[in-house]
Amino acid sequence: MKLRFILSETFQGLRRNLTMTFAVIITVAVSLTLFGAGLLVRAQVDSMKDYWYDRVEVSIFLCGASSSVPACSLGAVTPEVRGQIEQELNALRPLVQEIYYESKEEAYQRFLEQFKDSPVTQNVTPDALPESFRVKLSDPTKYEVIAAAFEGRPGVEQVQDQRQLLDRFFRLLNGLQVIALSVAVAMLVVTALLVVNTIRVAAHARRREVGIMRLVGASNFMIRMPFLLEAAVSAAIGGLIAVAAIVAAKVFLIDEVLAPSYQFTAFVSWDQIIVILPIIFFTGIVIAMIAAGLTLRRYLKV
């Protein structure tokens, strides 16, 4: 009986305040969608990091005949120097996990494979490509150790960390994420303010009822619950819209458009999305309830 009464009051309130209800629903939906998008970008960065950090290597390019850096002043690397470098790499285990030597011929084959549709391959001979050590580190963040040991060492033309190339890209994505989250936070503040205003208007519209409820001894719970539920219901509807938007982004944007065109990388998975959805859904409800609760404390004193 109590529950039925509270629910019927709640829905009367929602109906009476239809325009405000819609405004709350829309701002909640928009802000939560942005919030979800921010989380999605982060999840995407995470899954790309997982995917790529497993695959990135440090490349130590050895001097070729035409290299011009000072460390190559003695000309192309000799087999002895190459052997020494390999020994020095071995000395750095266990940081150095795997060492793979790529000869000019292998580099050439890989080059042909990578650019097989491009005319550029016709002008390149195996000799133009450097031989190298491909080194996989047990902790890819410790690139500096390798750089310090081999940068400028005679016979080494260049040490290149693929991870640094990736990080530049990730920083870009992180920037996008920060923007999306900042806008989302601003929108959530707007949402909270809108809820505050909606509750104020609703409390004013129902002041006679509320006055009578107080007079006959209705509990605070009974008086406030319909208002709180109004806020919660609007927030929940907005939250569902945001959830639908995120799911749609996964199905129609990521799975159907992005993933088929960029097969070389991983995309955010359903596992990660499943974590994001309840977060955005409940964030909206919690914010709306808090805003409503604080407003009610001010405007509906006993």
Binding site: M1, K2, F5, R208, E209, G211, I212, M213, R214, L215, V216, G217, A218, S219, N220, M222, V302
Partner: protein, 231 residues
């Protein structure tokens, strides 16, 4: 039922207190008129009992509870033990007579079955059994006040407070309302009524407490409205 112990109420520091050093006792089952000129503090007196205001000094005790010191979440409990009626009826215009009265019980979380039994019963008591489905604007002033009384009484509180309940009604209608309040008093309900209406007070011959500029100047067992009326 109600005890005032040296109660003073000041709304603000500059003006004289709305009530000054009031002490009195009201026994269960009594019918008490609170009379006095406009601004003498009658409504303030009732508001202190309802805990809509708190005494500045002194204690207001209702059914053994010190009303001023009641914690906020116990106030609803206090108010369930009293009904209140006002000059302006305070009905909900969008609800029917039946719904207005049922609202009290719904708000207190009563069961449907109980509501369906209690509402027609109390509407019968106030003589509106045949107008349950009307809206307030389809009723006369006297009938609206009966609805308000039904709403205040449907929960059968031991105490009924009335602040000028006949203030908006003509004399004949007022008599009807007074008969109803008397009937409610006869079943054991304590009734405390603030009024300007000399004719009613003189006719009823109940206890009269008179306030003047916040001070209690008279407390008479079977009194009349003004001193000069006295035989």
């Amino acid at each position: 039922m109600i005890t005032f112990e040296r109660v003073t109420k000041r709304y603000d520091k500059r003006n004289r207190p709305a009530l000054q050093d009031i002490s009195l006792d009201i026994q269960p089952g009594e019918f008490v008129f609170l009379v006095g000129a406009s601004g003498s503090g009658k409504s303030t007196f009732l508001r202190l009992i309802l805990r809509e205001e708190r005494a500045t000094t002194g204690r207001v005790i209702v059914s053994g509870r010190d009303v001023g010191r009641l914690s906020r979440w116990k106030v609803p409990q206090l108010r369930r033990g009293m009904g209140a009626v006002f000059q302006d009826f305070r009905l909900l215009q969008s609800k029917t007579v039946y719904q207005n009265v049922a609202f009290t019980l719904q708000v207190l979380g009563r069961k449907n079955a109980q509501i369906e039994r209690a509402v027609p019963e109390v509407l019968d008591l106030v003589g509106l059994a045949d107008k349950m489905q009307r809206y307030p604007h389809q009723l006369s002033g006297g009938e609206q006040q009966r609805v308000a009384i039904a709403r205040a009484f449907v929960n059968r509180p031991p105490l009924l407070l009335a602040d000028e309940p006949t203030g908006n009604l003509d004399p004949a209608t007022s008599v009807g309302i007074m008969k109803l309040l008397d009937r409610i008093n006869r079943v054991g309900t304590t009734v405390l009524m603030a009024t300007h209406d000399a004719a009613i007070v003189d006719q009823m011959r109940k206890r009269v407490v008179e306030l003047d500029a916040g001070q209690m100047i008279r407390d008479e067992a079977r009194g009349v409205y003004g001193q000069d009326h006295q035989p």
